[in-house]
């Protein structure tokens, strides 16, 4: 098994007569398209021309017209050199773009190589459906009110005898409030209302 990473701008994996070019996140006019063209030219300049070229799009999420242009350039060249060209890891956005441009029939796309984006699905961040349910919230509030009503009805006769103010009022002949002067600590007179 032969394997080596060539000193090309894009990482290249060479296994026997198959070459895999690993593309970057974007394939645009900025520099990536030129880099891909250069990488492909270097692959063709190799001593033995490969039988298969696989373009690994698993990281690529955006292609502009210059990217499409360089793909057409590669397609022309592989046809000249009788090389099989396969595209791997095409994401749904690029599949859509290819179908809009009728390129899905021109290129061989390996469908089983769908990549996984390194993102956590938002499904797991959602709360339980009951938290978002309005009828449940209404039942909660009504239930709480009924429960508090029952508690209040039961507790009122139980707690009333324990309340000193009411007990004094009901069971004692003395007035609830005492008006006048009393002697406080250190025989200091205290004037005011006291319970």
């Amino acid at each position: 098994m032969l394997s080596q990473n060539k000193p090309t701008p894009y990482p290249v994996t060479l296994v026997d007569d198959t070459v895999m070019i690993h593309l970057s996140k974007r394939l645009t006019v900025a520099s990536e398209s030129a880099t891909l063209r250069e990488t492909f030219q270097l692959v063709l300049q190799n001593e033995s021309i490969p039988k298969k070229v696989i373009l690994d799009f698993s990281q690529t999420t955006f292609i502009d017209s210059s990217g499409i242009g360089v793909l057409m350039y590669i397609l022309r060249n592989v046809q000249i050199h009788h090389i099989e060209l396969i595209l791997w890891g095409i994401c749904s956005e690029i599949t859509e773009l290819f179908s809009l441009l009728d390129l899905d029939d021109v290129f061989t796309i390996e469908l089983r190589s769908e990549p996984l984006s390194p993102e956590i699905s938002h499904q797991t961040c959602k709360t339980h459906p009951s938290v978002r349910s309005r009828p449940k919230r209404i039942i909660d509030i009504v239930g709480a009110l009924v429960g508090l009503g029952i508690t209040a009805t039961l507790l009122l006769p139980i707690l009333l005898p324990f309340n000193s103010t009411i007990r004094v009022r009901i069971f004692s002949a003395n007035p609830l409030w005492v008006n006048g002067q009393t002697i406080s600590t250190l025989e200091v007179p205290f004037h005011g209302n006291q319970c």
């Binding site: 098994m1 990473n5 994996t13 026997d16 696989i54 990281q59 089983r112 769908e114 996984l116 956590i120």
Partner: protein
């Protein structure tokens, strides 16, 4: 021999099986492949398969393997690090109903930030398989420490020359 393991989860991980099948079909893997497939319903063609393995049998297979392709489980990661095997981890995804949630993706993101060997696609799998970079985190961290020490030495040796300074290397 290349060992592919998906753990003992009750969820299938057919995506990884498809990727391995693809690599075999395109002759990007030419070695013998042994697959522990757990609950997978799709199997790569032309490989030796085991549904589940006893711990001793599994460890024995890991010993024999040149490279291990594993799901991104904590147990597998720790075992592979401990046994110092070259490996690549493929996270299971909740989106494809491969696990109850995305904790394997969370672990994979965290590992990739510290240089862990993670494959997000079949292409990554090929790249990791033929990469000359060490996959073990402890080797990478030892290398990083060594490089940092050398840089600090170069930077500060002119100020405080320390000719006898040596660095411990954990190989």
């Amino acid at each position: 021999m290349i060992l592919v393991t998906v753990g003992t989860e009750r969820y299938s991980f057919n995506r990884l099986m498809h990727w391995v099948d693809l690599l075999l079909q395109y002759r990007l893997i030419q070695e013998e492949v042994v697959v522990q497939y757990g609950s997978c319903t799709v199997l790569p063609s032309g490989v030796k398969v085991y549904q589940n393995l006893k711990t001793e049998q599994f460890i024995d297979l890991v010993h024999q393997a040149n490279f291990v392709i594993s799901h991104c489980g904590e147990g597998s990661l720790l075992l592979l690090e401990e046994m110092e095997k070259s490996y690549v981890l493929v996270p299971r995804s909740h989106k494809f109903k491969e696990h109850v949630d995305d904790h394997q993706i969370e672990l994979a993101i965290a590992l990739s930030q510290v240089g862990g060997s993670i494959a997000w696609s079949a292409g990554d799998l090929v790249q990791r398989l033929y990469s000359s970079q060490p996959t073990l985190l402890k080797t990478r961290s030892a290398l990083a420490t060594q490089i940092l020490c050398q840089k600090l030495d170069t930077r500060f040796s002119s100020i405080h020359p320390t000719p006898d300074l040596t660095y411990a290397q954990s190989e």
